[in-house]
Symmetry: D2
Subunit: 400 residues, 4 copies
């Protein structure tokens, strides 16, 4: 099995041009111990390998019980990286792995969703003594760490990698957009053309999903709580309405909101027979799996990764147990997207290693110059040249 893990890592290594460029740059993490909690598959493995090549000692675990790929975890160990991870549905086991990473007393944490950092700031406060900085990958994680900051608990500088333009403009839109649609197609083999697809949430993720669902020919409906985003969705040509109404006619419902219980019990009861449900949000709370379990008169896996719930004389299908569908039931974001995000991560960790002493204990926006640097690396990788403002134009912008 480890062989397939090695293959997967080799494959992505050929398409992560930015990490390859950084490996050849003059960045140095020698002597730094980095604890990583991240969806453990080939691309994140290659990030860990990259950090190790820059000199760091890396200890890795997953950040979601179902998103760990065991063959990759095994292969990663062969690269001399300490791995504590296993695909599981056992939340307790999942948390035991987080503890093992903290046991290593990391200098820096690379977090995805905030579980590791929150644990360090609550149950495991003794590790804070050594911890010098955190870089956080997701919207959800940044929100949670801001909550720590607001409650006065945050003890280290945090770089909100998620808030880098090269992250949120790309990962959450092109990455989630493609991979969620990919996962739904490969796991159902159902036609998207003409299907009524309801996307809950029109943030960056939601609009990526909506755009790609339309790109496959679906009829897309959108629900939102933010009136500005709702008007945008309308002007993008989508049907917009209350989820309680739209879910009655939807063939496929995809949640991408960041909040819990996007569908209410009544909504579940109102779903069409044969409706397919998928979640694209970080936590498995958007589709209320507990309610579904309670309602179900019968349930069984009807296709790999697809669970059939029978109730009220109808069947409803849930992909990937309501966990984020592109990771729990597919290969996650496309390689090149993660390559960009992980270039941002790598630069953030290097930045923290150099500047931690002068940084405050708060959540920082991603440094703009690093953000632009990654954009220029990506253009270089693509072989695209762009214009520069002339001195006269710069002057014009200043003085006109």
């Amino acid at each position: 099995m480890a062989k397939t893990g090695h293959q997967k890592i080799e494959w992505v290594s050929k398409h992560m041009s930015l990490l390859n460029m950084l490996q050849k740059g003059d960045y140095d993490l020698t002597g730094w111990r980095i604890g990583m909690s991240i969806h453990l598959e080939a691309k994140t493995a290659y990030l860990a390998i990259t950090l190790k090549k820059l000199g760091a000692q890396v200890v890795v675990t997953g950040c979601n019980p179902l998103s760990t790929q065991d063959d990759v975890a095994q292969a990663l160990a062969d690269y001399g990286i300490e791995v504590h991870a296993k695909r599981t549905t056992d939340e307790k086991e999942y948390f035991s792995f987080l503890h093992r990473v903290l046991d290593s007393k990391p200098d820096l944490i690379l977090d995805d969703g905030g579980d590791l950092t929150v644990l360090a700031h609550t149950e495991r406060r003794e590790v804070l003594e050594n911890l010098k900085g955190v870089s956080e990958e997701t919207t959800t994680g940044v929100r949670r760490l801001r909550n720590l900051q607001e409650r006065g608990i945050l003890n280290v500088p945090v770089i909100a990698v998620n808030n880098a333009k090269m992250k949120y403009l790309f990962d959450n839109r092109y990455g989630t957009g493609q991979s969620v649609i990919d996962s739904i197609m490969r796991n159902t083999n159902l036609l998207l053309a003409g299907k009524k697809v309801l996307v809950a949430g029109y943030g960056w993720c939601g609009r990526g999903i909506a755009m790609r669902a339309r790109g496959m020919g679906a009829y897309v409906m959108v629900s939102e709580v933010d009136p500005v985003k709702a008007v945008e969705a309308i002007m993008d040509g989508f049907e917009v309405g209350k989820i309680s109404e739209l879910c009655k006619v939807a063939d496929i419902v995809i949640t991408a909101t960041g909040v819990k219980d996007v569908l209410k019990e009544e909504d579940l009861l109102n779903l069409k027979n044969g409706a397919v449900l998928a979640n694209a949000g970080h936590f498995n709370v958007e589709i209320p799996m507990d309610v579904l379990e309670r309602l179900a008169e019968e349930k069984y896996e009807i296709r790999q990764n697809v669970m059939c719930y029978k109730f009220n004389g109808k069947e409803v299908y849930v992909i990937g147990l309501g966990r984020l569908v592109n990771l729990a039931a597919a290969d996650g974001h496309p390689v090149e997207i993660m390559d960009i995000s992980f270039a941002l991560q790598t630069l953030a960790l290097v930045y923290l290693s150099k500047n931690y002493a002068t940084l405050e204990k708060k959540v920082y926006e991603y440094p703009a110059e690093l953000d632009e640097h990654v954009a220029r690396l990506k253009l270089k990788a693509l072989g695209v040249e762009i214009d520069e403002l002339t001195p006269e134009q710069v002057e014009y912008l200043k003085n006109f």
Copy 2:
């Protein structure tokens, strides 16, 4: 393994509404022996089951060495259907299965690509005595059987199911479009947004692929030999040019032409390092695999279904060995598309069983009234009502 085969068949049975309607209709094939050669996976299995439910005796094989799913083949046997098929790369074994089907002396043939019918008209002419009709699924097959007709060899009436509007307007566009893109995404995990995708051929398949590749954010280039189609591709906003030029900058090349050697040896040598090749045409002749094999200094499977060829200091990746990529390395057309096509097939076989005696030995277009009937069944399945012309409007169209 058969368990997963049964699961797969159950899953598709829930989404093949038209076949389910036909099973409940008053169609009768009692006493008819039907030889099927078709990509053997869950959907075609459900067609076989449907024909059996209408009373037919069904003998099945594959129509492409790599497109047979063994678990489905096993499960099908449990339904009392005679199956001769195995996923293989051995062309000889593949043909031995075709012979086994002909051994059963079928009354009707349901063909996909024409291999079974051509064999019956060449090496196995003794089976023609009993054969009363053929329904053929694909463009390629129809072309081959028309060749038989032109050469004066064709001995039975053939219904060109491929030429039904409900077939070629849907299967070749929405079906191939989605499933080819699905296969490329799931087998590479590469980002399509911003990728330079070259689609060779702008027939119904090619434009479906181009439309969906663009729908996923790709930059799409098209090559064509038909000047009218080339102008259409330009007006659809695609870059159009000679394949020998476009292949130099393509990240992904997808062939959908129906002819052999779409890429020449020189083109292979001019590909970018890291180019991905996939074929969406019926036969594995569009990408010249023989030339690639000859050029390769090294080759190995770098990811499941992806073969890496090294030559001239670069790597080129081929998905599914150059066989039609949506079947050889994914689940084929979406379920609902095959449901439409197979409703057409079922009605064609019933039609042949009733009318064979009065039909000529030639290739017939698909009967228009059956075509429209299937369209109305599909609208019914979708719950969509449409308008009817009023008598005054009919009169207007006639007499104005």
Copy 3:
């Protein structure tokens, strides 16, 4: 005013590359008298000029009361072409111009919609003696001349220019698509993004309009009577339903069906307050203007080309009096589209002049070799080179 007519003709002359190529070719119409009935604006004027340059004597009138641009008509006279046309709402005056053209006893007719040819075959049968052929531009016209043929009245060979691939695949889709949307935008200044646009008819025109309306961000709904086209519209992601239901929520209704009374009286009564109506079909019968006139308690021009009808406590706006909106209230098809169509027309007239003696008195499909010739001319004009099949590939297609 003629100055603006000359300007308009000069402008289009710079963008009608195909006509310019044909003018420099070795085509000869010397001695042939051609009667043209066509939407008289700059592009058709340049067709008349082209025919004159090839040696023909040209007599021109309009083919729709409102589509004649008077400044162009005047300018055309300066080129030595006999013009009988005026923008008018007076049907009688319109028909008097048709009669004037027939008075010239044309050898060939270039018709658009069939009015001139039908007149020649009914009230003015004496002109048939001299008439040697007709080329007809539109779907509607071809249908009418086929009706003549079926009734045994047709007395000359007719070339269905409309049925050329380079015509119906382009003019009816890219031409109508763009120009109808252009006309609605320029005449209303209303936002299309998020608007509910109902397109009646999903033929080539309807799908062009639907595609472009979506391209401007509209939410597009489609009504159809053909079940196959209805399923296509669904799979293209549009909402499909009965016009009597969809018209209740539409902000804009565009008819493109070819039949009369697309909206019924009840539908008009059910329209939303502020609904905008436009017709893209050849005749002004799709929106029942008579019913609207009868219902209206008040009517007045509220914006140039936009008539406001008040009834039942609401207002409904009709652009261009229900005549084809891209010509009655804008500049018609884009120049390059008409350039293609008129290259087809020119070649059809030359073809008729050479072959009329051996042709039957029926409606002919457009000659395939001329069709392909025009496609190749267009590629040349665009500077695009395409592939040719190799002899091996041709052989493969024949013999496989």
Copy 4:
């Protein structure tokens, strides 16, 4: 002529639902003198009328020499509004009108582009004594007023209406997108499908234009100076490169950058014969008209609003003299877009009238609660209901 002005105002009044709602609300501007400098056409006229209905005394001029519609200016006077404006190419006359507005000693300024406010802060500093606030409409204007602030000159609070989400997400994208394409189509009658359209700048305006040009079938190329935006454009499927290269193959060039001299002299010399140039930026400096005038061996108006420049053996066409093409040569943004922007403007002026005393002399972002209020008004006008977060969900977002 004033009659057409009245018609135009009546037409827009029927589609400016938000202004109509505000007129019926309990907003009061009695006693406030408002100086407006704005593209003077029907929609802005209706804003002036709305402000007057709320009690204000309104003095109006244009904000761009060519964008004033004289019939509307005349009609507006009939509503008891003081108007100083005329369509002109005379910059001096244009500035004299600005002075006339300042002569009225306005309490508040509603500015578009910043000319009026800059004038008040430079040559006419005596008016600052009475001035209590400014609301500014555009990106360019906000930048200029920020420059004033940075130079320590700004003497009043400024509300950056442009920075409201309901402004920049809509006006600059859906508004500019549609109206620029509309203007190019109506002024050229050229086909967009298959045309090579180069959009310079991928800010909100540029991406709106690119999206709509693609929506009409164009092949879209993008130039940018910001590397992040350049990568976005690539991932949106556009060709991205240096303007100096792309302009050599462009059929149409549209500038939307906010800086001067987007095309250099060498670029002009490299344009294709027949290239069409249009500017969508606020000032007529993006296309270097001075260079074009110098190069031209001959120039003349070849179509209304289209100037032909001949040089170097080729012709280049400029629409609207290089001024913003949707206003100088069409009707500006669609009515509903301006309705939203002007609802924001109206609320900003009411806000300034109430809070000016406590505000600092700086540029303020648009108040978020007013922004959301306008979004909810728009949803109400559209008849769309959306979801609200439940208390449990609000809690979840806070505490998780």
